[in-house]
Symmetry: C2
Subunit: 398 residues, 2 copies
C-alpha cells in the first residue's frame, strides 16, 4: 500500500469510528455499536472503501489485545474467582445449548450434511468477548457482579470455541480427532492461565526499576506494549487466543492482584499503577476502535440474498436459537430474574470469532454461499441488537 | 503476515530499540543512534530478522510524522522566523555545495556518466531531519538558537531535496524537465506552509469544544492523530514530504503560535495544550523508535564490497565531501566559530531521504551495485558519526 493511501484510510477509519461512536452515545446507545456501524458503512456492505487490508487487520488485532489488557487491569481476580462456578456453568451451558440447537436445526430440519451441521453448531457458539466487554464499559456496568460473571464466562467460552474449531477442522481434514492433541492444548491453556499472571507479577519490580532508572523517553508505554505482545504471542503459540495473553498481563498488573508470596503493585513502586494507566489510556483508546471498525468491515451484507426463502427460514431459526440458548445460559446466576436475563443477553453477541469460523468454513468448502450468508446475518444481528437490549435490561443493576 | 509473527516482530523491534537506546544513553551517546544500531543489527546487515515488511515501513512513517508533530508543538514560530534568513542561507549552501561536489567528484574524477553524476549529487543533498532533530532532543539542545536555525534549514533542505529528486527522475525518464511543473510544486508547497497552520489554528476552538463535549473516550488522541494524518496526506498529495504536514499541525497547536486575528491555544481552552501533550506523549514515544529501527534495517552493509579499491576511493571522496560541504554551510550563522561549526555538523546526517534516493536510483537502473553501496556507506557513516561529534561540539551551547 502507498504511504498516502495508508494515511488516508487510517484517518477515515479513526474519524468515522469517532463520529459514529459519538452519535450512538448521544442516542444513549453503546459507542462500540457506532464503531461497528462505521465499519459496515466503510466496508463491502456499502461503500467498499475499506477492504480489510492486511495492515488494518493487524492493527485491529493490537486493538483487541489492548482492550483485554485494559479489562484485565480493572479486574479484581478475587471477585472473578468468587463467581467462578457461576461463570463456568454459564459458559458450559452457553456452549452446549447453541451447538446442539445449531446442529439439530441444520441436520434435522434443513437436512444438511453431518459435517456442515457440526460446523454450523461450532460457529454459533463463541460469544464476542470484545463486543460484550466494550458494551459493559460503554454503559458503565463493567464493575457489576453480572459483568464479572459474563467476563469469566465469555473468556471460557472463547477458549472452548477455539478448541472446538480446531477439533472440527481436524475432523474435516483428517476424518478423525486426536483426543491427545485436544487434551494437550487444553492443558497448555490452563497452565498458561495459571502461570502467566504470576510471571508477569514477578516481573513487576523489574519494570518499576527500569521505569525509574531509564534515561530515555517512553519507557513505560514501550515496556507495557512489549509485555502485551509477548504474552499474546506465547498464548497464540500454545493454541489459545492472543487476547488471553494480554488479559493475563492486565490482571497481573492490576492494583488488586495479590500473590501468596508477593504484594500489590503499589507496594513495589508507589504510583506505578497510575503511571501505567496514564500512559496506556491514549494508546488503548486510539487502537481499540480500529478493531471494531474492522469487525464491521468484515461483515459483507451484500452476501445475503434477501429474496431467498430458504435464507429467511434458516436465518430465522438459527438466529432465534442463537439468541434464546445464550439467554437461557444465564439461568445459573444467583439473583433476580433480571440478573439472569441480563447475563444471558450479555452472552448473545457473536462477532469476530463467528466471522472467523464462517471464513474458515467457506474457504475449506464446507459452507456454501447460502450458509455463509446466514452466519453473517446471525453475527450482524446478535452483535447489533444484544447491546441495545442489554442497555435497557441492565439499567437498574449495580 | 501471520498475526503471531507480527506480534513477535513488533515486540522485538520495540524491545531492542529500547535496549540499545538505553545503552547508548548510558554511554552519553544520543539514544537515537541506539535505535538505528538496533535496526542495523536486526536488518539484513547482520541478523536479517527484520526484512522491512510493508507494515513496519508504514508504522515507521507514522513514527516520523509524530516526531515532527512533537517538534512543531515545541517550536516557537516567531523565533524560527527571526533566524529565517540564516536558516535559508544554511539550507541553500547545504544544497548547492554537496550537489556540486558530488557531481564533480563523480563526473570529473571517476568519469561516471552525466546522469549518474547528477543523481549522486542529488542523493547526497538532503539532511536527515529525523536524525538531526532527535539528536538535538536527546542531548537536550533542541531549544537553542542553533537548533532553531538547523530545524528551519533541515526542513527547507528536505523540500529542496524532494524537488530535486522529482526533477532528476523526470529528466531520467523523459529526457526533459518541465519548469512549469517544478514551479507548480514549489508554489503548492509554499502555499501549504502558509495556509496549513492557519487552518489548523482556526480548527482549534472546534477541537476544544469536541474534547469537552465528547461522550466517548480517547477523543483527544483520536482527533490529534487524525489531524496529523490529514495534514500529512494533503502535504504528500501536493508533492511535499508528509512530515511537512505534521510539522505544520504541531506548529499550529503550539502554545506560542499567534494569529493576527486569533489568540493562543490557551485562550480558547485553558489546559487544552497540556491535555494534548499528555495524551500524545505515550503514542509518540511508542512509534518514533520504530522509524529509526526501520532506517537502520534499511541499511544493508552487506551490499558493501570492502575489498574493492574503487569503492574505498569513491566512498572516501564522496563521504568527505558530504561532511565538509555541510560543515561549511554553517558559515552563515551569526556567532562564534563553535556555533557555526555545530550548525554545520547538525546538518551532516543523511538518512532516510538518502536511502530513498539510492533505492530509486538502483531500481531505475541509474545506480549500479557499486554506486549504491557507496551511498549506503555514506548514509551510515554520516548518520552514526555526526551525532557523536555534535554532542561534543554543542556541550557548552545554550
Amino acid at each position: 500500500m502507498e504511504v498516502a493511501e495508508f494515511f488516508l484510510k487510517f484517518l477515515i477509519i479513526l474519524i468515522s469510528a469517532k463520529f459514529f461512536a459519538e452519535m450512538f452515545a448521544y442516542l444513549h446507545l453503546p459507542g462500540v455499536l457506532g464503531e461497528v456501524t462505521a465499519g459496515i458503512i466503510l466496508g463491502p456492505s456499502l461503500l467498499g472503501f475499506v477492504k480489510v487490508d492486511a495492515i488494518f487487520y493487524l492493527l485491529a488485532e493490537i486493538g483487541i489485545l489492548f482492550l483485554l489488557f485494559e479489562v484485565g487491569l480493572e479486574t479484581d481476580v478475587g471477585q472473578v474467582v468468587k463467581v467462578g462456578v457461576q461463570s463456568f456453568l454459564v459458559a458450559i451451558t452457553g456452549v452446549l445449548l447453541p451447538a446442539a440447537a445449531g446442529f439439530c436445526i441444520s441436520n434435522y430440519i434443513f437436512h444438511l450434511s453431518l459435517m456442515v451441521s457440526l460446523f454450523i453448531g461450532g460457529t454459533i457458539v463463541a460469544t464476542s468477548i470484545g463486543i460484550t466487554v466494550r458494551v459493559l464499559v460503554d454503559i458503565k456496568k463493567h464493575q457489576t457482579k453480572t459483568a464479572k460473571i459474563v467476563l469469566g464466562a465469555a473468556i471460557l467460552d472463547d477458549i472452548i470455541g477455539v478448541v472446538i474449531l480446531a477439533i472440527l477442522y481436524d475432523f474435516a481434514v483428517k476424518g478423525s480427532v486426536s483426543v491427545y492433541d485436544t487434551a494437550k492444548v487444553l492443558g497448555f491453556i490452563a497452565a498458561f492461565l495459571l502461570i502467566a499472571p504470576v510471571i508477569t507479577k514477578l516481573l513487576t519490580p523489574l519494570i518499576a526499576k527500569a521505569s525509574l532508572k531509564s534515561r530515555t523517553q517512553g519507557t513505560i508505554p514501550t515496556i507495557m506494549v512489549s509485555l502485551i505482545l509477548a504474552m499474546a504471542f506465547i498464548s497464540h503459540k500454545i493454541g489459545a487466543p492472543g487476547i488471553l495473553g494480554s488479559f493475563a498481563a492486565g490482571i497481573a498488573l492490576a492494583r488488586r492482584f495479590f500473590l501468596p508470596l508477593g504484594s500489590t503493585i503499589d507496594h513495589y513502586s508507589p504510583g506505578l499503577a497510575e503511571k501505567i494507566e496514564e500512559n496506556m489510556k491514549p494508546i488503548i483508546n486510539l487502537f481499540v476502535p480500529v478493531f471494531f471498525v474492522v469487525v464491521g468491515a468484515s461483515i459483507n451484507l451484500k452476501a445475503i440474498d434477501l429474496k431467498s426463502v430458504t435464507f429467511w427460514q434458516m436465518a430465522g431459526f438459527l438466529t432465534s436459537a442463537a439468541i434464546i440458548t445464550k439467554m437461557i445460559s444465564g439461568i445459573w446466576v444467583k439473583g433476580s430474574l433480571m440478573t439472569k436475563l441480563s447475563t444471558g443477553i450479555a452472552m448473545v453477541p457473536r462477532g469476530e470469532v463467528g466471522l472467523i469460523f464462517a471464513e474458515v468454513g467457506k474457504k475449506s468448502g464446507i459452507f456454501n454461499d447460502l450458509v455463509y450468508a446466514i452466519i453473517v446475518f446471525l453475527v450482524a444481528l446478535t452483535t447489533l441488537v444484544a447491546p441495545v437490549l442489554l442497555r435497557f435490561v441492565m439499567k437498574g443493576e449495580e
